[in-house]
Symmetry: C2
Subunit: 415 residues, 2 copies
Amino acid sequence: MKQSQLFTKTRKEAPKDEVSKNAQLLIRAGFIDKEMAGVYSFLPLGLRVLENIKNIIREELNAIGGQEMKMTTLQTKDVWEKTDRWREDLDDGIWFRTHLNNETELGLAFTHEEALTKIMTDHVSSYKDLPIYAYQFQTKFRNELRAKSGLLRGREFLMKDLYDFSLDEKQHKEFYEKMKGVYKNIFDKLGIGDRTYLTISNGGTFSKYSFEFQTLCDAGEDILVYDKEKGVAVNKDDFNDDVFADFNINKGDYNFIEEKSAEVGDIYTLGEKYAKAIGLTYKNEKGEEIPVYMGSYGIGVPRVMAVIAEIFSDEKGIIWPESVAPFKVHLLSLNQNEKAEEIYNKLNEEGIEVLLDDRDKKPGEKFADSDLIGIPYRIVVSSKSLEAGGVEFKKRNLEESEIISVDDLIGKLSE
Amino acid sequence: MKQSQLFTKTRKEAPKDEVSKNAQLLIRAGFIDKEMAGVYSFLPLGLRVLENIKNIIREELNAIGGQEMKMTTLQTKDVWEKTDRWREDLDDGIWFRTHLNNETELGLAFTHEEALTKIMTDHVSSYKDLPIYAYQFQTKFRNELRAKSGLLRGREFLMKDLYDFSLDEKQHKEFYEKMKGVYKNIFDKLGIGDRTYLTISNGGTFSKYSFEFQTLCDAGEDILVYDKEKGVAVNKDDFNDDVFADFNINKGDYNFIEEKSAEVGDIYTLGEKYAKAIGLTYKNEKGEEIPVYMGSYGIGVPRVMAVIAEIFSDEKGIIWPESVAPFKVHLLSLNQNEKAEEIYNKLNEEGIEVLLDDRDKKPGEKFADSDLIGIPYRIVVSSKSLEAGGVEFKKRNLEESEIISVDDLIGKLSE
């Protein structure tokens, strides 16, 4: 894409009411726009990052038999009353409520266990139908009291939620263990694997414990107690004798430290609660009606984007990991649009995604914008670089640059 | 994909409260699930069709410089009050309203002119910034009084909406004319081009006329007055002397007939109304502040899916055009799973999308399901077909089938 065609502009200051670093950076660089606290539009660059994150997740989930679908935002109360989650006071008033013109009360889904369990009653009847792994990328609406953390805590945000429908606890547990590995792969590919910990935490209603994936991050709302060497981590809220006993943790054997972290994913055992309440059963080989055993697996997509922006940034701007960057290469033309366009075409032909800064701007402005936007590789075409034999090549996260010939560029970018 | 892994099942009957043909077929075939009237979930097969339609639209819009983004559902009232569209009585109460826990009133966007115009005030300042073409695929919420037409009239539905931000009427008009061609290409590729007409209709607030794209369809809510030979069409609501005069139509020269039709797209001139109300201006070369001139261009994605299902179907089920079909090939194994899987792998290697019916079902059931689901090419592997020298090959829309060798299959599918 040519930057002269991109409608977004960078800005020196974020809006005054925006206090979070991730949103300040992403707004200044033109990735997002703030509609209200916790509610953000994704501008072209931001949407590209969001889609890259989705594709990494999608690929891993399809590989283990996940089936993508898309449920609805508008919800009628019947199925939620069965699980006692229609209540006004639920989670401090998490529901956004609305109504049809005929006064029928509706809610905006903040999660989809009830909706999907109900759908499955039309499609599951026999043990032969199970297991099923269904997932979606769908906007969740949560009426948060406070939303001051930018994309880290959204009132309207895109979530990947997968649900397993299993024959019994055993089949569910096998999948649950498999998902720990799948999530590890996902966070590795997203570039945050080395600072993301599988974390013991409270299990909520359905089981004593669940697991979260917590990423070390100063802006996070949680505190992680972890041993880096041994890779053992516990949410500070649950760091107690009960946990030590249940997980055979002898505190003396560990070097636990505390650090702020953000929850980027969670995996829950739901058991039979939803199936029993909503009537999702299957016939086993003996013809008995058995409730389906369930689990749920979430990742907040904009939250991952926020964590990346918080972690991978410096005083100049964002430093995107290559796997999620809006483009691989930022090609800056300093009054050399003809030569730059030649290189631009060549890179495009090779399938390398490149943003060409062909704008009529001063070099200093182009460099500053490039650092702020944070594309991994910066290539500068100037009369100086051409005299020196090629283009200036620099990684966003390194200080040094080098001159390389145009012919060597493709090879260099494939390293 | 293997059908044994697909969680959806076909069903003989649609829900009793579902009166529209498109929703009946799509529910029975397992493409969608009804949450409430006008609100449908997209199950795996349905999501595949939706994504195919989106990709056809996206390709055409990117080719003319469209920039994809994604705005928010939740809206605060300030910007909508400026255009006088926050009113409770607007379009018979089209707004769904909700509120934050602190009582701040919010609305669920039924369109996005206001939101995008406001965003553009941060990015447009000079004539050099224009024109801009921005679009999104985003869920719209419309509090329709009645919603009995399945996916033809949704209360929650995915819409492609593009907006042009132009220097003046002239630049806008040039783009507007170009978009007529773009829409024609889109509807051609979707397989409904030959029965879709560029239709003169009422222009609403901003200009005397606008154009709709109307597709001949018994389930449609409009009536099209058109001359098939000459390709001239007028919405019956606007078929009057005024139109004849303004478009130089001498009724005697035309052979107008009436037929029911569904509006699959519309293109509007918005003029300066939004820019003036919200303060979106640019500096021209003389340094004067000029309001931006706008237009909007919509396509309801599920409505297109509904129209296709209405038109391309028979008493047995749906007949998808190849461009939007969930798979290209439906491969039915009649107790020949080993041979079928061999063919399945071969087709996948060639990049041909195939649904393999490897389920433990009777042939009659497999044939009925295949006709209901409506994948364009059906290939049957049975002991009979293998004895005859290969597989049975049949197009969903034709009666006759033929036996062809497995080696000839790829060639046949590339015809």
